[in-house]
């Protein structure tokens, strides 16, 4: 479990992270979502004790990172796939990490095998593709068989096969009861892997909720209508007390409207419809809307939820 409490980071005048408080629970994949520059990587670096918080605290299983003995056995992280000396072989890169934490050499071969790099273990890392570099970084994270795993944008630069592999890996790690914390700027990616979601924008917490809840709350359902008799239909719908939004593309949108009712109204007034379709706003749109309105959502984000989870995780 990772607990953040009022975590803040300022660089001079610029606020990178502003009093983040949330808990990452074991047994599930927690997605850490935010647009580029939202402060995700800064937050993750503070979690690993690399950057010093201006205020607040991070605890890993109740302890500060610097107080962990052999930290790779508690928490494995992939921060930056390029954070490797290019002149060193994959095997030696992992070996020096293993030795520093008293991890047996045999484990190096195991993780190389897990990520599929055994064949290039003796090759220098600078010859690796981005995908191979990402796999090497993940091998490093898995090295100490840690209970907590943290991945910063792990699918960046991967081919479809690699993306598929990472998704399954994260799910299986969570299924083994581990804490998996993964950042992304892509909502669609999170929707496929994460069960829980922490959203930040401009360093502030915007949402801390289960994925299902997020989808329920944020995906707007509406009905899209196209008609050559636009003005007449508008009159009819207004007359029926239905609010219509006119979109730039010439279509009309009705929030929370029932297509049956609109269709019947159109038929009664003999209006021709070219399209009458129920729509669901994509999660990507919901995410963009959320981060665009960061201040407004911030006011809601401190509500009851954190305590609920605090009770919940111990069961898992």
């Amino acid at each position: 479990m990772i607990e953040l409490e009022g975590l803040s980071k300022r660089y001079g005048e610029k606020v990178a992270v502003s009093s983040l408080t949330f808990t990452v629970r074991p047994g599930i994949v927690t997605g850490f979502l935010g647009p580029n520059g939202a402060g995700k990587s800064t937050t993750m670096r503070m979690m690993l004790g690399l950057d010093r918080p201006t205020a607040g605290d991070v605890r890993i299983d109740g302890r500060h990172y610097a107080d962990l003995k052999d930290p790779l056995k508690y928490i494995g992280a992939l921060l930056d796939a390029k954070a490797v000396h290019g002149g060193r072989s994959a095997y030696n890169h992992l070996l020096c990490l293993a030795q520093s934490n008293g991890i047996p050499n045999s484990r190096v071969h195991e993780v190389l095998d897990t990520v599929g790099l055994s064949a290039v273990a003796k090759k220098k890392a600078k010859g690796f593709s981005l995908g191979m570099g990402q796999r090497l970084g993940i091998a490093g994270a898995l090295l100490g068989d840690p209970r907590i795993l943290m991945f910063d944008e792990p699918v960046n630069g991967l081919d479809p096969e690699g993306i598929h592999w990472i998704r399954n890996l994260m799910k299986s790690l969570a299924a083994q009861g581990r804490t998996v914390f993964v950042s992304s700027h892509l909502m669609s990616e999170m929707a496929l892997t994460a069960e829980h979601l922490v959203v930040i924008g401009q360093g502030r917490l915007l949402a801390d909720t289960s994925m299902a809840e997020f989808i329920r709350q944020n995906s707007r359902a509406y009905v899209r209508i196209r008609t050559p008799q636009r003005e007449r239909l508008l009159d009819v719908l207004h007359g029926a007390g239905i609010t219509v939004v006119e979109t730039g593309s010439g279509a009309l949108e009705v929030d929370a409207g029932k297509p049956e009712r609109i269709g019947e109204l159109a038929a009664q007034h003999q209006i021709v419809l070219h399209e009458l379709s129920p729509q669901q706003a994509s999660l990507e749109e919901a995410f963009m809307q959320l981060t665009a309105e960061s201040v407004e959502y911030h006011a809601h984000s401190d509500t009851a939820l954190p305590h609920q989870w605090g009770d919940g995780w111990e069961r898992g």
Partner: protein, 256 residues
Amino acid sequence: MAATQVVRSEWTKIRSVASTVWTLSLAVVVTVALGMLISALSRSQFDRMPVRERLSFDPTFVSFAGMTLGQLAMIVFGVLVVSNEYSTGMIRTSLAAVPQRGTFLFSKIAVATGLALVIGMVTSFAAFFLGQSVLGSLRTEIGEPGVLRAVIGGGLYMTLIAMFSMGVATMLRSPMLSLGILMPFFFLISNILANVDATKRIGRFLPDQAGSRIMQVVPRVDDDTPYGPWGGLGIMVLWVIASLVGGYLALRNRDA
């Protein structure tokens, strides 16, 4: 975090990159070869030297003449050992594995220093014996007073130069910046400062000027250096300590 684990890890790091091999072999080859060349030249030119120089001819020191250039390779070694971590981004991986920054830095420095000491001693003894072999009748023996001290001192000098560079590189992080300051400083500026009358009094307390005193056996005729061989080395050690403490403080307080 057991320090022995970190030392073992740092040894794996240092032996698994090419820059270690080429910087250290360059240090040996350049120091020995240039020392032999200058020894050979001295022998052939000896009769044409002014009397003053003939009187204070120091065959031991002459065989170490290659160190002015060879030390630059030691500087590159010291700088790269540390700044490789920064230029590659490896530092974040390293500090996530070893969050105790003091343990991390001093294990790295201990390993690199151990290696530099071995190479420094090999270089120094090789430069001495091979240098003497071409000096002919001007040669001295390892058993002569002060000679063994000078030869061991030569190895220590090269080690300390590498250590000083490690501290500076830890403070500056960038390899280019570190080399851009250290190389011209030790190759040119320090020599100028120590030999121009106006700056001589201060210049001779610079790390390399003070440290290289230990390699001299025969003092210059008008020698007025205010410290002896070991005193000079002591001054250099103080510089090294200052540089390492500075590096440690910078690393401890900085975001990685």
